[in-house]
């Protein structure tokens, strides 16, 4: 399984993602420029990653411009063929803007940018310590869609406290139902606000990010 990491002009986590995948997780990584369209070197077993950052400055809604970039047309086609796509932070926002994932990401409830360690848990229930850094990370969808996501097990990560309890205290941005990450109905497109690539190195004293990649089946 190899990875393609998209570089938008304002991506600033592209190199972190590359280092994490290549150096820490020992994966093959190809960097992809936003003006290119060619994804022929990837099969649907591979994964395209939309990294964090401020793709085109995000002075408009986060990700609203990125969805129109040349590479995104190919990424959308790739996802529709069943190829794996992961969006982290700004990447998650772009996936929602492109319609590859349902729902939207609104401004944080406290109206401020938040950068800190939070705890999230996936289906195995273990609380994982992962950093967040975003101003617009409050996942929102109508109640019907939220019910549906839960029914189909499409909520892949939720904010929790250190011990794994799903309370308001562990929810940093006011996300509906503590949602930190979701997948699509086909389970090949994943979006999450926390940054697992910032937690895969022993030198940073936090390797919980490895478990995130593992839960996503991308390890």
């Amino acid at each position: 399984m190899k990875f393609g990491v998209v570089v938008f002009p304002g991506s600033n986590c592209d190199r972190d993602m590359q280092r994490s995948l290549q150096h820490d997780l020992n994966k093959e990584v190809i960097m992809l420029w936003h003006k290119d369209e060619d994804l022929s070197m990837f099969t649907t077993e591979d994964c395209i990653v939309l990294p964090g950052g401020f793709s085109y400055g995000d002075y408009l809604r986060c990700g609203a411009i990125a969805r129109f970039s040349p590479i995104m047309q190919s990424v959308i086609a790739f996802a529709n063929k069943g190829g794996k796509v992961l969006g982290v932070c700004n990447g998650f926002q772009i996936l929602c803007e492109s319609g590859l994932l349902p729902g939207v990401l609104l401004g944080n409830a406290n109206q401020q940018f938040i950068s800190k360690n939070v705890y999230i848990k996936g289906e195995n229930g273990e609380a994982l310590k992962i950093p967040i850094a975003h101003g617009e990370g409050r996942y929102f969808a109508d109640q019907k869609l939220l019910d549906e996501l839960e029914k189909n097990n499409q909520v892949i990560f939720r904010y929790c406290d250190e011990k794994g309890a799903l309370d308001a205290g562990g929810n940093p941005n006011g996300a509906e139902r503590n949602i930190a990450g979701i997948t699509n109905a086909g389970r090949n497109v994943f979006g999450m606000m926390p940054h697992p690539e910032r937690a895969t190195s022993a030198l940073l004293n936090n390797e919980d990010g490895r478990k995130v990649f593992s839960l996503l089946g991308l390890n």
Binding site: N12, S20, G52, G57, Y59, F113, S115, K116, A133, N205
Partner: protein, 735 residues
Amino acid sequence: MEITVKTAEELRLTAEEFELIKQKLGRTPNFTELCTFSAMWSEHCSYKNSIKWLKTLPREGGRMLVAAGEENAGLMDMGNGFGVVFKIESHNHPSAIEPFQGAATGVGGIQRDIFTMGARPIASLNSLRFGKLEDKKTQRLLGGVVHGIGHYGNCFGVPTVAGEVYFEECYHTNPLVNAMSVGIVKVGKTISATAEGEGNPVFFVGSATGKDGIGGASFASANITEESTEELPAVQVGDPFQEKKLLEACLEVIETGAVVGMQDMGAAGIICSTAEMSAKGGVGMRIDLDKVPTRQKNMKAWELLLSESQERMLMVVEKGKEAAVLKVFEKWDLSCSEIGEVTTDGRLKFYMHGELEADLPAEELVLGGGAPQYTREYTEPAYLEKVKAFSIDSVADITDLKATTERLIQIPNIASKRWVAVQYDSTVGAANASTNAPSDAAIVLAHGTGKALAMTVDCNSRYVYADPYVGGMIAVAEAARNVVVSGGEPLGVTNCLNFGNPYNPEVYYQFVKAVTGMGDACRKFNTPVTGGNVSFYNQNPDGPVYPTPTIGMVGVLDDIATQTTLDYKEAGNEILLVGQQQNDIASSEYLHKLKGVEFSPAPHFDLDEEFAIQKFIASAIKEKLVSSAHDTAEGGLIVSLLEKGFNRNLGFDVKADTDLRTDAYWLGEAQSRVVVSCTKQQAEALKKKAAASNIPVTVLGTVTTGAIKVNGEDWGTIDSWKNKYDTAIEKIINK
């Protein structure tokens, strides 16, 4: 229009300076030319009132790779073929007027100083000072400045890893916003801010030029006589997305090998970058101002020359290699225009519509060339009499240490700055090794070099106010101590000297003494001053701000394994104090904030004693004799003991066996003290080593699972103290 001495004075040049300009030109300058002198001979660009004393600082030696002031930022050898580039700069006045854009463009400007040298920025720091937090005005300024720093830095994608925030009455009108950046470059791959080679094209890269920030370096726009000036925004507007693209494009274009020299456009925009690059290379330039991309129509020559629009660079390219350069900027969708060429006559000739608008000798405009240098008078400030008159006996000792400590840790200067820090992306870059392992200086992995860097900004300006010479030394000593206790080896210093009006002899006394103290300390720690910035005229209606020589220090960790954290590791570990306790409460937060004493001397400090303590700690860390190390700073010993417990929710049981006053023992801010925790074996070895090195070490007590006991008294548990400490600032803001 006729140019007279009155015009010059309106542009904030003196009559003598006007005469000097006429002499150097051999004629009366036209308005455009006069404007360029006004900007280039301003305090900000020429250092005319500070350079004499800056030259007394140790500006070479150690591991410096370029002498101070030679390039846009300092460059030091960090080993393994890599250099570390760093600099701090102020953006005080813009932030006072428009806190969001003022702070944002401060961050943007300092990043450009780093990448214009070919280095990739890896970490940002900042040092902020405001009036009393309880004031709504302060809260507005704080909110705007923090938002601005976050807005720019978060988008630009460099982690903000450390900083300091102080609140003192004297900064009410004039807050201080100092921003620092640290970058990495391969030795030998740096780009110089030099123009060379007759006929080489000069490129203008990045954002278009508008009328924003015109005269930011020299004069208030309201005083300018030309019509359009009244609408000029005084503060520049930043675009971090543009700067991010500029960063990547500049680093990429350097790889083409086509770049001869490069300089960012900061203060005094085009005139400053063309003059400095030309003067440095001993050349001139012929510039066609019509070719500069503009945001507004009908900009005049002097407006184009002085505009401080952000995210712009000037680049001299080897003739014949233009295509490779243009290709890179096209890839990044950045404008790149050839606006002129290098000439050999040493003159800057600016043309517009075919007319020669200005004809200036580059060398005469710049610092070290024709810019004036002044020797200013100074006299000891009258208030120092009150400082000297202080006696500790005039202050009653405390009877309730616990209640006093509770108040102390909620003073904004001491309490957690979490409200500020969470608004900055501190983990982008996956390099901040302090996120999960806190230490006194931030430890940042320098990816690809095999090393890590320790970095910190420090200045307790009340100490400098109390004693400019000693306070200047302490600022350097504390920075070095923070690097050392975190396991780093101090390399060098960048400084941001924030003072009042230099024409006031009492202010100038503070400046002279503080610089002298800094110089002496820098020589002692072998940490040369690689550069920085001077910001004068930081005044309130009732007087100057505290003299604030902010020290930014960078150290290196050859092996990340020496990284030493500040927090207790395990219940049962011993807590020891390295250094001498003193019967001293001078200039402490306790004395100033809780006892209301404005005038007292700087706290106890002895440079040799400090040096010995730092050597001892560095060696103890190498020998792995400590599990944690944290210096005592604002709030004294008791605050250090508490801070060490917060990260892992561990408490402590300590006793004082002393004849000293209770307040002095626990709350005094005497320097040169470090609190360490050790396993039993480490403690034994540490005590032996201390005895052999004649270093005072005192056993204070032991680490507990959470309960706090001081002199046998039950203080509750660490989590309730942590809660007070963490939420103090937001409680005041949300009130």
